[in-house]
Symmetry: C2
Subunit: 619 residues, 2 copies
């Protein structure tokens, strides 16, 4: 096999399999004839075709006529020869591996629809992707009903073979750049060699081996597993090595090694580490030696197949699934460094919470990645407390996607028996939820610090969820309510408001205020988070900037009240009075001017004109 | 005033007020003429009308023409005579009291739209409810613009007076059973006396008193507060005296006494107590003496205006707002006792969680109340941990309603500064949430008992919320997603899964299982709940009955798994494997049979026929 053939195989968008002696380990009509005790007669007809005395099509028609059987005979045959006894070894795995990569699989059969369909079903090939002619039946006086008289479409003038028809139709119907054909007989080779036929022809010699067919092929294989092994493997790289990045990488490393039934993932997972010294040694070296991030997720083995590197470009080299999981303030710089160094076949998935505030409005992390790297970017968001996931407690996440096929690959990268993954076609809401919930976690932390009960906390969280939803919809009109019922919405909010670090620091802030030694958020971050970043305060200030710029502060009373508490402008107990704090009676320099709303129903025009004039003069 | 008049006043669905000398304490056109220094001239025209030399309408037109002023003059007048200086005493309170009862208020003015509108706005009367003609203006060469030349519609042939027009239009447009007209002048009396005019005419003699008008009236008053006092007062009765009933009654008792700006509530609130002995005394007597339910909400004063009675019919006697707040298994019996003894003007509100399972399907408590008592029934649901509400911590609730006007009254009954109430037009979902969340609280309690972290608990709660939503929508197609974002949905779920009694008992159940002395739910209920009922187990069994009857068990894996744990058929740690427990590999007698799904794409007809025949024969 040449490099060109390998490359074409890896690029293939569709693969069409021949049926007899390729997908099956026998010729189905021969098998049926033997089943009916007509083996020798059928063999004679086949020989006439081999000698050139009969066309392939005529020989097929004759063989079917010769059988002259009833429908019950066919059912009996299918019962005695279920798909499992007819499939060639490894074909199931190969078809699954192709489909896993989004490659469309077709089946072209000369042995009638009725005999082919059970095999297609066993291989998960949709009936619409099967090319085969039906059996023609003739009514008789016999007790067991009609008799088989051949194929329904034998008369059609333009008809060469089902295989040739399949290739022709696929070329007509779809703009596949690369179409591969897999077969074992001369008819198969001819079909592939048609004008505008298949781009590569692969001879399968695992059942029968025709020297001419092997000679005419681009690649000859005796084992379907070889073809599967030559398919492209997805290689995953993770940008980031904080607690959540490590917990996620641990799942990915497990899945690529032990949970890869389609054999679609490269075993090695690379992880970019922002280098730092830990106990006098480089963190990346410690990880590679101990397979543990002793600083950010101590006590948890990441997997032997995780390779840490402090070199960003080395980390993404050869990767085609790129996880972004660094604090959001670093994403911009990282994207700029990666620009032009990422494969254009790659896809990205952001696990980062946060947004970038620019004068013209906020920008999602996924938007930034998409814009800089020019590749599709999904997001994985959800209730993700790193330590609990690392200890394999049941957790969930949501993939927000634009392209479903990419989300499906990502689901297989991330889902495991203790980590359930759902998918929603709503990147914006999934990502915004992951960001905004950190503000509500601060609000909830204040409630905890004040030792209020579950009613109050639930009321604050509910208002928080409402404001999250309102904010998402105000910025992204495509946002769906449904998304907020997913893990990235309500579940992440609950987990974060009960277990997250923002809640913890906010609670500590309130408790410290009640002592003689109040502490700032910066001090508490350093004291409690061991080098992790407190996202909530940053996010609160960024979101407030958006609200201020658009004059929306009064419409988000909980966000606004929380921001004022965070910045020391209101005491923590103001949180339960959020309905007032966001609106009136609190005089703050940053408060947006309310433009006087125009009175409705102003009927008297001259009066309205005079009123406007007077107003203009008084300015 | 006769009894008939009082009865009509209390029944009135709409009240139309005349403007000058009724709503205002002066004649507005006279006041405007004085403002422009034309008082005597205007008075002369008015006198001609009084002498019968001019029709009322012509006199109005003349008076406006006489003023011949500019738009700026009108603005100047309005500036110097703001609504507060023109309103008759008590009219604001009366209008608010009427509107509070859902009675529609109209305004019929002879003094031009421009002079009337500011008063309408001050009284919260929508502009659409104001009948008045606009000012007509004529362009001039003058620097200060056009000149006033009269009313826009003076020419209209059918035109008697704005008051008469208002009454005529209201009669044409709305089927009000009882329409009241309030005025002070002869034009007002004439308007009310039109054919099909007002049902009662009330003379307001607080500003001017025309003997003929008073004589012609059904009722003459000098103080609007008298009219307000004669309006019906809502009397609240509560059926039930458990912890939540007591916490709710405490709010209602406070609101009727101290938070009733519209003076619409009777001060006394009655509470039906299921009589029992506490320390050798009757509970109802203890409550009436100490104003405290020492058994179910000890240490909390309910309010001096709460009257407890063990007599059900006495409790609802004279009440027109009936709160139902008893364990759901008792509602049916209570409804049967109340049948025929409740005022048909009354409205009900259910605070009870649970449903009644009947062979034909579940029945909501609100449906049961509606069917037996033949009155509208809303529900009040939300995050309601009784003790926290009693200690005035911020809490929320949602009113699910069918009739908005009733919900608005109920909102005023229940809302107070620490108890926020929202309204949704979705009784079914609001009520079902209040019931179903108790099942999820059991699931969450199992998670707590097993000491799993917040991720797991959030994942379980989210699945619970999804199944709640799915179940509501399956039974009631009108259910709205929006409802689940309200307090009755997500907030109640959170509060109950962190603070409720079902969670507490489920946690204790798991912990007891781990010792040498496992306990049943009944034992734990008795031990931990001090006589309160554990709703969750009952609800779980009832809901499972519905799921089983309809063959839906596999579609609700968390509900089903929780029910199996509750009944000792699965160990508690099965909760995190709910995806499997609800579906496969668990052999339970009650499992619904899955009907074999029919294969798609059966193309070969004779074969399909043979297959069906064979299947039929084998049976």
């Amino acid at each position: 096999m040449t490099e060109d053939t390998l490359s074409a195989w890896r690029r293939a968008q569709a693969v069409c399999f021949s049926f007899d002696n390729t997908v099956t380990e026998n010729d189905t009509l021969d098998l049926l004839a033997q089943h009916l005790g007509l083996g020798p007669e059928a063999a004679q007809v086949a020989e006439q075709a081999a000698n050139g005395q009969l066309s392939t099509q005529d020989s097929l028609q004759r063989r079917l006529q010769l059988l002259n059987c009833s429908p019950q005979d066919i059912l009996g045959f299918l019962d005695q020869h279920p798909p499992a006894t007819r499939l060639a070894p490894g074909v199931e795995d190969l078809v699954a591996a192709l489909q896993a990569r989004g490659i469309v699989v077709y089946l072209a059969s000369a042995s009638s629809w009725e005999l082919t369909a059970p095999i297609a079903q066993a291989l998960n090939i949709p009936y619409a992707h099967v090319f085969a002619d039906g059996m023609a039946w003739q009514e008789t006086e016999a007790a067991d009903g009609p008799r088989l008289v051949g194929f329904t479409r034998h008369e059609a003038a333009s008809y060469a073979s089902p295989q040739a028809e399949a290739v022709g139709k696929l070329r007509d119907m779809f703009p596949y750049q690369t179409l591969a054909f897999v077969g074992s007989g001369t008819t198969d080779l001819e079909a592939a060699q048609l004008a505008h036929g298949a781009d590569i022809f692969i001879a399968y010699a695992g059942v029968v081996q025709h020297e001419a067919v092997v000679q005419g092929s681009d690649w000859s294989v005796r084992d379907f597993h070889e073809m599967a092994r030559m398919l492209k493997k997805h290689k995953v790289a993770c940008i980031g090595s904080g607690a959540w990045a490590c917990a996620a990488v641990r799942i990915v490393a497990y899945n690529t090694l032990h949970n890869d039934p389609r054999d679609e993932f490269a075993k090695e997972v690379t992880m970019w580490v922002h280098e730092e010294e830990v106990n006098g040694r480089k963190l990346s070296e410690i990880i590679n030696e101990t397979h543990e991030n002793v600083k950010y997720l101590p006590g948890v083995k990441l997997g032997d197949n995780v390779v840490a590197t402090p070199d960003l470009l080395e980390a993404v080299s050869g990767a085609d699934i790129i996880m972004v999981c660094v604090p959001h303030q670093f994403v911009h710089g990282i994207c700029k460094q990666l620009q032009g160094h990422v494969s254009q076949d790659a896809i990205a998935v952001s696990l980062t919470k946060g947004m970038r505030v620019r004068p013209e409005g906020p920008q999602l992390i996924s938007e930034m990645v998409r814009n800089y790297l020019r590749i599709d970017c999904s997001v994985l968001m959800g209730a993700n407390i790193a330590q609990d996931i690392a200890s394999e407690q049941l957790s969930e996440a949501t993939i927000g996607y634009t392209i479903l096929a990419n989300a499906e690959v990502l689901k297989r990268v991330f889902e495991t028996h203790y980590f359930y993954v759902t998918m929603v076609p709503d990147v914006a809401a999934a990502e915004m939820c992951g960001t905004l919930k950190n503000i509500v976690a601060l609000s909830a932390g204040f409630v905890d610090g004040l030792a209020y009960g579950p009613n109050t906390k639930a009321a604050i969280m509910r208002e928080g969820l409402q404001e999250m939803r309102q904010f998402c919809k105000a910025l992204y009109p495509t946002v769906r309510d449904e998304t907020f019922f997913e893990s990235c919405g309500v579940a992440d909010l609950i987990a974060t408001c009960y277990g997250g670090r923002n809640r913890k620091v906010a609670e500590a802030y309130v408790k410290a205020l009640m002592t003689d030694h109040p502490k700032t958020f910066d001090e508490l971050e350093a004291e409690l988070l061991h080098g992790q970043k407190l996202q909530g305060v940053l996010t609160s200030n960024e979101v407030q900037e958006v609200l201020r710029k658009r004059g929306w502060q009064d419409d988000y009373p909980l966000f606004t009240t929380t921001n004022r508490i965070v910045n020391g402008r209101l005491p923590p107990h103001a949180i339960t009075a959020y309905r007032d704090c966001g609106i009136d009676g609190f005089d703050y320099p940053e408060r947006a001017d309310n433009p006087t709303s125009s009175q409705d129903g102003a009927r008297a025009d001259p009066l309205a004109v005079a009123a406007r004039e007077r107003e203009a003069q008084s300015k």
